[in-house]
């Protein structure tokens, strides 16, 4: 079956058709052409497809598009502010927290959600916040530094 669903993505409302079995990740990528959200494993481990649904970071490969009908979604495309990198994005850049960049949108969304919940105080906490996403390039050190730096700026 196919049905229309309506979602708000990064503040903008979209209505499009979705097959019953279409995943939310494929809906964003194929139907809305928001290709910043990437598919790395499609079984919920790598975290590349992480987006924010109604305030919570979730795997968009493990949700069906139909389940998101009426939801508020945030994706990597919505992070920059006025065409400029936001604080977290800038910290990623300043700390060389990305290389190939494929996993980066998922990391950004996971960390965005975590930092809204409260400060990340030390390296252990930062590593915990990051542990739900896999990066094969950087060895995570730049990511840890970016999280700590942003947390300090946001929560001081």
């Amino acid at each position: 079956m196919t049905d229309n669903i309506t979602v708000t993505v990064n503040g903008k409302q979209h209505t499009a058709t979705a097959d019953d079995r279409l995943t939310l990740a494929d809906f964003l990528r194929e139907k809305l052409r928001l290709t910043g959200t990437h598919l790395g494993c499609e079984h919920g481990v790598c975290g590349a497809c992480t987006i924010i649904v109604d305030g919570s970071a979730v795997r968009s490969c493990l949700m069906l598009a139909r389940q998101a009908d009426g939801a508020e979604l945030e994706t990597v495309e919505g992070l920059a502010e006025g065409g400029k990198l936001n604080r977290l994005q800038q910290a990623f850049k300043d700390n060389y927290a990305l290389q190939c960049g494929f996993c980066t949108p998922g990391f950004l969304m996971s960390v965005t959600a975590a930092l809204r919940e409260g400060p990340v105080r030390d390296e252990d906490e930062a590593r915990d916040v990051l542990s739900g996403n896999i990066c094969r390039c950087t060895g995570y050190q730049g990511l840890v530094d970016a999280v700590l730096e942003t947390s300090k700026e946001m929560h001081s």
């Binding site: 494929f102 980066t104 094969r136 390039c137």
Partner: protein, 814 residues
């Protein structure tokens, strides 16, 4: 000079990648592209009796289904990348028709309106197989009377590679001390976060096919396609998209899917796209690592190496995609040590598992694991400090170029170009604060904790030939376009090669644009592999930059009426000795020399078309080097290993962008930690993969990778004008060895529990006299020398997973 080489310039790539505007293959807008899915063999070894595709053809949205036998025009073997005259080559077809040789091998291809429908159709294809016995280890491959991995082969041995220097046999027989060990390094994968993908579009009007491919080697792919399709190379354009989500080796290989997808586009006259999903990636992207080493060393009473002999079994997988990995292994064994007698003998075996080829480290981690584990065993045997044993054997800084006496995989004598191994080791130990770590380890042992220190050193052949090239052009907007054949997968080429070009030309980086990985833009290239691009494409850009600088100055001098030597660059202008009044912009230069006026003669002295190209062919490989040191704590109750401290000393010659080099090293280290402690694509005895999801194949997260302290040496390579060497793999190579050494050291403290000294832990950190663990030597006639006494747990595997630690503890009798 603008001084951009050596500066940690921020990455140009980042803004688009941080805002979701990356252009990875599956992000490219290819309207109406059909989706491709491959049906893959569920058996490790089976004869194909028949394939019925009728039902699949009727399924909703299906456009076409092809078997191997439907695509006979491309039924041609894919050539191994690196050959050997003795290699018993078995044909690897894009889609085999008669027999499959590993779980995951393609047997049919479906083209449908979307990937969901294509996967539906895969379930409707009915294949009748006769399952045949499978080989799932080198031990099984070499066992007497073993079944054959390929029914029509006469043996499972693909090739035997031998390297000799001196007379290892005689030296071992006469050595005062002799130790042997057997070490196994398990398979491991590349696991780029973006899996492989290929898309293709055929243009009937021109007869040209455009192929988008996540390959590390677009020119190699084009060459293979040109031969298989029997098409002119210029009619095939292979583009590695601007963003590729990691490579790490598997994407440098050439696969059947890369042949099938563009061919299907041509057959159908439709744009098609295949995006490998993770399930496919687990069973079809090439892997590496699987080796067993039986290594023997002879040494004098001071610990000086007299001979090494290493018998290596290499898991080649179902087909030989190239012999680069095993040949690198054989030449990496001696490492940074002076060893007068060397003998390595490698048996590359066919097995019924995914073919193997390079994965970050490429044959080196295994060799370093065997050698560095033995260096620790020598130290233990002689009751010497492991660092001291290494110190006594290192090639000294004044001994370069150093000829090891054997041959490297590039075909040249293994000759280390430069380095300072003693300084690297000492610097690493200083950074670790080795003496303090030893005290702390001994203190921890006194408290009943199991803390150990491990060191591993290595030399890494890198910067391989044959050549790499760059084209530099002043474009009509007054920008300088740097075109590389090389394709990046996250290394930051757009940044690094702009830095090199800016330095060579003497202009700001802002004026430089870099494009990569498109055979339509530059005719010749090799690809990104073997930590070679900085040392090959780097000099090419540098040399071309100097040529372009001369062309710009020459043209500007004519326009300004001065000598080329008087020209200085200021922003986007060429000036007469810095005088802004007497200057001409780069765009104006382009207007005169490149655009010209239709039909009008060029001004006198102006040479047309400001474009230069340069290809750099290194005389031979360069050699990077490094030392890793780890402190770990082991919980013998659980088998858990925690890395407390990790230091890397790294020497890759001169660096272009230090932070990007740090990123390469630390990223490589994370991969090394995976190989050391976690990653293992287990196969069962029937050749069925047992770890084909990320729940079972344990990639490391931020929680598993410790912070690394880095220490750099920069001994320039004399082999290229930048003095650069490779940086991509050094973080990975010795990590399994350093960790295993540290774990074994940590477990030394439980040696005497319940043993000779009955329950009292050994607090000294040293072995008591007579308490040295000794390995029984195979075929060693001297019984006194090979007496076996109670020993501490042995770590003979990588990865050292918790259950391996637990098993080692138990097998040691605790």
């Amino acid at each position: 000079m603008t001084g951009t080489i050596g500066a940690s310039v921020k990455r140009r790539e980042d803004d688009r990648l941080l805002t979701g505007r990356g252009r990875y293959l599956d992000d490219l807008d290819l309207p109406d592209a059909l989706a491709i899915a491959f049906l893959r063999s569920p058996h490790a070894h089976a004869k194909i009796n028949s394939i019925d595709v009728d039902e699949a053809l009727q399924a909703p949205g299906v456009v076409a289904v092809y078997r191997g036998s439907d695509l006979m025009a491309i039924h041609k073997p894919l050539a191994p990348k690196v050959q050997h005259p003795m290699l018993k080559e078995l044909p690897r077809y894009p889609i085999p028709c008669e027999e499959v040789h590993y779980v995951g091998e393609p047997v049919a291809v479906v083209v449908a309106e979307n990937r969901y429908l294509a996967e539906d159709a895969l379930e409707l294809i009915d294949v009748d197989y006769d399952v045949l016995p499978a080989i799932s280890s080198t031990a099984a491959a070499l066992a007497e009377g073993a079944p054959l991995a390929h029914s029509d082969a006469d043996s499972n041995v693909a090739v035997t590679l031998t390297q000799r220097c001196g007379d290892a046999e005689a030296a071992l027989n006469s050595a005062p001390n002799r130790l042997s060990g057997e070490f196994r390094v398990m398979r491991g994968g590349g696991h780029s976060m973006e899996a492989r993908a290929v898309a293709a579009r055929f243009e009937p009007a021109t007869g040209q096919v455009t192929v988008w491919d996540t390959t590390q080697s677009p020119h190699y792919a084009r060459q293979q396609l040109s031969m298989i399709y029997e098409m002119a190379e210029d009619d095939i354009r292979v583009i590695a998209p601007p963003d590729v989500g990691g490579g790490f080796g598997p994407k440098a290989q050439f696969y059947g899917e890369e042949v099938v997808v563009p061919w299907v586009a041509m057959l159908l006259g439709r744009t098609v796209k295949w995006v490998e999903d993770r399930q496919e990636n687990f069973v079809s992207a090439m892997m590496e690592r699987g080796q067993t080493h039986r290594i023997e060393v002879g040494f004098d009473d001071d610990g000086k190496l007299l001979a090494v002999r290493d018998h290596i079994e290499h898991d080649q997988g179902a087909y030989c995609a190239g012999l680069q990995v095993p040949s690198i292994t054989t030449s990496t064994v001696p490492g940074p040590y002076k060893i007068p007698n060397i003998h390595t003998e490698l048996y590359a075996c066919y097995t019924n598992m995914v073919p193997t080829s390079s994965v970050r480290g490429a044959g080196r981690p295994q060799a370093v694991f065997a050698m560095e584990r033995m260096m620790d065993r020598i130290a233990e045997h002689l009751d010497l400090d492991p660092a001291e044993v290494r110190r006594r054997n290192l090639i000294q800084a004044d001994e370069f170029p150093y000829r090891v006496g054997i041959t490297f995989r590039d075909g040249s004598p293994l000759t280390y170009d430069s380095g300072d191994f003693p300084a690297l080791l000492e610097g690493t130990l200083d950074k670790l604060d080795y003496e303090r770590c030893k005290r702390e380890r001994d203190q921890a042992r006194a408290e009943g904790r199991h803390v150990g220190i491990g060191i591993a050193v290595y030399v890494e052949g890198c910067g391989l030939g044959p050549y790499e090239g760059a084209k530099l052009r002043l474009d009509n907007r007054g920008k300088i376009l740097v075109t590389l054949a090389a394709a990046g997968q996250g290394q930051g080429y757009e940044t690094v090669y702009a830095q090199i070009a800016a330095e060579a030309i003497g202009v700001d980086m802002d004026l430089i644009e870099v494009v990569t990985g498109d055979t339509g833009r530059i005719p010749f290239g090799q690809g990104t592999f073997a930590s070679r691009i900085t040392a090959t494409a780097g000099p090419a850009v540098y040399n071309a930059g100097h040529q372009l600088r001369e062309r710009l100055k020459d043209t500007a001098a004519h326009l300004l009426g001065c000598a080329p030597g008087d020209i200085e660059f200021d922003g986007d202008r060429a000036t007469f000795a810095g005088d802004a009044e007497k200057s001409v912009s780069l765009q104006e230069i382009a207007r005169v020399a490149n655009i010209g006026k239709h039909g009008i003669t060029l001004p006198k002295g102006i040479k047309p078309a400001i474009e230069v190209s340069s290809y750099f062919a290194p005389e031979r490989a360069a050699y990077a080097s490094g030392a890793h040191a780890a402190v770990v704590e082991v919980d013998p109750d659980t088998g858990g290993v925690k890395v407390l401290k990790y230091v890397i000393g790294h020497d890759c010659g001169n660096v272009i962008n230090p932070r990007l080099v740090d990123g390469q090293v630390i990223g490589g280290f994370a991969h090394g930690i995976g190989n050391a402690l976690y990653e293992e694509p287990v196969y069962d005895a029937e050749g069925q993969p047992q770890a084909a999801s990320y729940l079972d194949y344990t990639l490391v997260s931020a929680a598993e990778v410790p912070r690394v302290e880095l220490f750099h040496l920069h001994t320039p390579s004399p082999l290229n004008p930048l003095g650069a060497k490779g940086a991509g793999e050094g973080g990975t190579i010795p990590a399994p060895a350093a960790i295993a050494n540290a774990v074994e050291d940590a477990l030394r403290s439980i040696r005497h529990r319940g043993g000779v000294e009955d329950g009292r832990p050994d607090h000294s950190g040293k072995q008591p006299p007579g308490g040295r663990a000794r390995h029984r030597l195979e075929g060693d006639a001297d019984g006194a020398r090979s007496a076996t006494i109670q020993r501490s747990p042995r770590i003979d595997y990588a990865p050292v997973t918790p259950h391996r630690v637990a098993t080692a503890v138990r097998e040691a009798g605790h």
